[in-house]
């Protein structure tokens, strides 16, 4: 592992300490008198009906899907942007085609009405 990533590795190992300290302190300092009413789900004082894990609409899925497409696009575009000095005209045209193709995906989703919040 390179020297640079060693820092990140140490950071990842040590970082749980910082949120853990106050939470544990809170656990020790706070009173502990649990009762069933206190532990009820808080839904504005009305008793919970049915299961909390309800079904969600497809809209969320579509947003996540379009996001995935653009995320992967970003993975390709970032290295290209950092190598921009060495690229010729051909490479630029290729990149533009790449971006335009994905923009067409967005345009399709838009035209189909899949981006509407319902």
């Amino acid at each position: 592992m390179s020297q640079e990533w060693q820092f990140i590795a140490i950071f990842i190992v040590l970082s749980p300490i910082f949120p853990a300290a106050p939470v544990i302190l809170n656990h020790l300092l706070g009173p502990r008198k649990p009762n069933p009413i206190k532990q009820q789900t808080y839904e504005c004082g009305i008793e919970t009906v049915g299961d909390s894990w309800v079904q969600f609409k497809v809209q969320y899925y579509i947003y996540a899907l379009v996001f995935v497409i653009f995320d992967i696009e970003a993975v390709f575009l970032f290295p290209i942007a950092s190598a921009y000095d060495q690229l010729g005209l051909f490479a630029i045209i290729e990149t533009v085609i790449f971006v335009v193709l994905l923009a067409m995906g967005l345009a399709y989703a838009w035209g189909r009405g899949a981006l509407e919040w319902i």
Binding site: Q3, E4, Q6, F7, I8, I10, F11, L14, S15, P16, F18, P19, P22, V23, L25, N26, L29, G30, P31, R32, K33, P34, Q39, T41, Y42, E43, C44, T48, S52, W53, V54, F56, Q59, Y60, Y63, A64, V66, F67, F70, D71, A74, L77, F78, A81, S82, A83, Y84, L87, T95, V96, V99, A103, L106, W110, G111, G113, L115, E116, W117, I118
Partner: protein, 424 residues
């Protein structure tokens, strides 16, 4: 190039910690290890402690904007210790786990949020040499960590066994992932101009701060940063009047405090990141290279001050926006993103990419910058004009609904048809 606080101290006050460490632990590998640990502790402690100040600052500034006084009792006239008192209050709250909660998810969520909020600070260049680590993929690293932190919201929402929490989590995640797209595309612009993903390289490339070269990218980044940190006008994450408090409704005590903390740490990070990417970071007319008396590099200390001034200036803008704008509806938030910001940022990145190659390489930096600036302003004007036309058409199409605004759903589907028609 690990955390250079050791070297920083050396050049600043002539304190040679490196040599001292070497005599204590011996091996160079151990010196690196110890200085890494020191760096992690310094960065994390800074993030945790500054939040106490940030919360006070925000309350005070917002209060002034709303013609109130704000905290003024605890800790003197200015209520300086108000947040400290709040922290103590959170610490002595009872630690409740709601009935039926998914314990793993419920407990993991606040930890993950804070860890992600801290980890991104590793690549923030505070001053020359004062950076956790100068990764060659710095900006990409920030995006990766912050996109992975979205998972924590889902954990919190799922683990709480509460419909409001789950609904809030889903809305938040939809908002966060959506606004990540324009953020990624806006960040591509400075990377393209600097030819590097390293935050330090991007600061070095800003002889002319990028906000004067590509202001449109800066604005897009600022808007998506607001949304990513869940601040007004995009604070659906904790829409008090709609879903009680969003994904963390079932959290109390310090576990709630951790979400709150992460939010502020993230906001400060975004301010600092904006300063780094668009305002030239720690640079200020070559001040960072100032050396006094032969070897005392006072410029480094001054550049630290410069960075903090810039960061807090952006932070102030964040508070200002909060004090000025009301919350936006969830469908408006997402429509604005997918139908305006994303196409605009795609157009911007293509324009900049092509222009960058078209402008002859031997053109001076100022000529180059002005051409890019002109292109930016032109694009912004076109975008605003399109938005105005669409909005005007929309108003004409549904003026009755707009006035009454009773049947929200119908009104909206009506609009939707118009937008689809406009697209064709």
């Amino acid at each position: 190039m690990s955390f250079n606080i050791v070297e920083f101290l050396k050049s600043l006050v002539g304190l040679n910690v490196s040599e001292y460490l070497k005599t204590v632990v011996g091996d160079q590998a151990w010196v690196n290890f110890v200085s890494d640990v020191l760096g992690v502790v310094i960065i994390s402690t800074f993030c945790l402690l500054i939040v106490i100040f940030l919360i006070w600052l925000e309350r005070k500034v917002i209060a002034r904007m709303q013609d109130r006084i704000g905290p003024n009792r605890v800790g003197g006239r200015y209520g300086l210790l108000q947040t400290v008192a709040d922290v103590i209050k959170l610490l002595i709250k009872e630690d409740i786990t709601p009935a039926g909660a998914d314990k793993v998810a419920y407990w993991l969520a606040p930890f993950l949020t804070v860890i992600a909020a801290l980890l991104i600070w590793a690549v923030m260049p505070f001053a020359p040499g004062v950076i956790g680590v100068d990764l060659d993929i710095g900006v990409f690293y920030v995006l990766a960590i912050s996109s992975a932190s979205v998972v924590a919201l889902l954990l919190a929402g799922w683990g709480s066994n509460n419909k409001y929490a789950l609904l809030g989590a889903f809305r938040s995640v939809a908002q966060l992932v959506s606004y990540e797209v324009p953020m990624i595309l806006a960040l591509l612009v400075p990377i393209l101009l600097a030819r590097s993903m390293s935050t330090v390289d991007i600061v070095r490339a800003q002889t002319v701060p990028f906000i004067f070269v590509v202001p449109l990218a800066a604005v897009i980044f600022l808007i998506s940063a607001l949304a990513e940190t869940g601040r007004t006008p995009f604070d659906l994450l904790e829409a008090e009047s709609e879903i009680v408090s969003g994904f963390h409704v079932e959290y109390g005590g310090m576990k709630f405090g951790m979400f709150f903390l992460a939010e502020f740490v993230n906001t400060l990070f975004m301010s600092g990141f904006f300063a780094t990417m668009f305002l030239g970071g720690y640079r200020f007319f070559g001040l960072e290279n100032l050396v006094v008396g032969g070897d005392w590099a006072i410029g480094r200390l001054l550049s630290l001050v410069v960075f903090f001034v810039k960061m807090f200036a952006v932070y102030f803008v964040f508070i200002w926006i909060r004090g000025t704008w009301p919350r936006v509806r969830v469908d408006q938030i997402l429509n604005f993103n997918w139908k305006f910001l994303v196409p605009l940022s795609l157009a911007l990145i293509l324009t900049i990419a092509v222009l960058d190659k078209v402008i002859p390489a031997d053109a001076g930096i100022y000529a180059r910058s002005s051409i890019l600036l002109l292109a930016n302003l032109l694009l912004a004007m076109i975008a605003i004009e399109i938005m105005r036309t669409v909005a005007r058409r929309k108003r004409k199409g549904s003026s009755v609904d707009a006035v009454l605004d009773v049947n929200e759903v119908e009104h909206h589907t009506h609009d939707a048809h118009h937008e689809v028609a406009a697209a064709h």
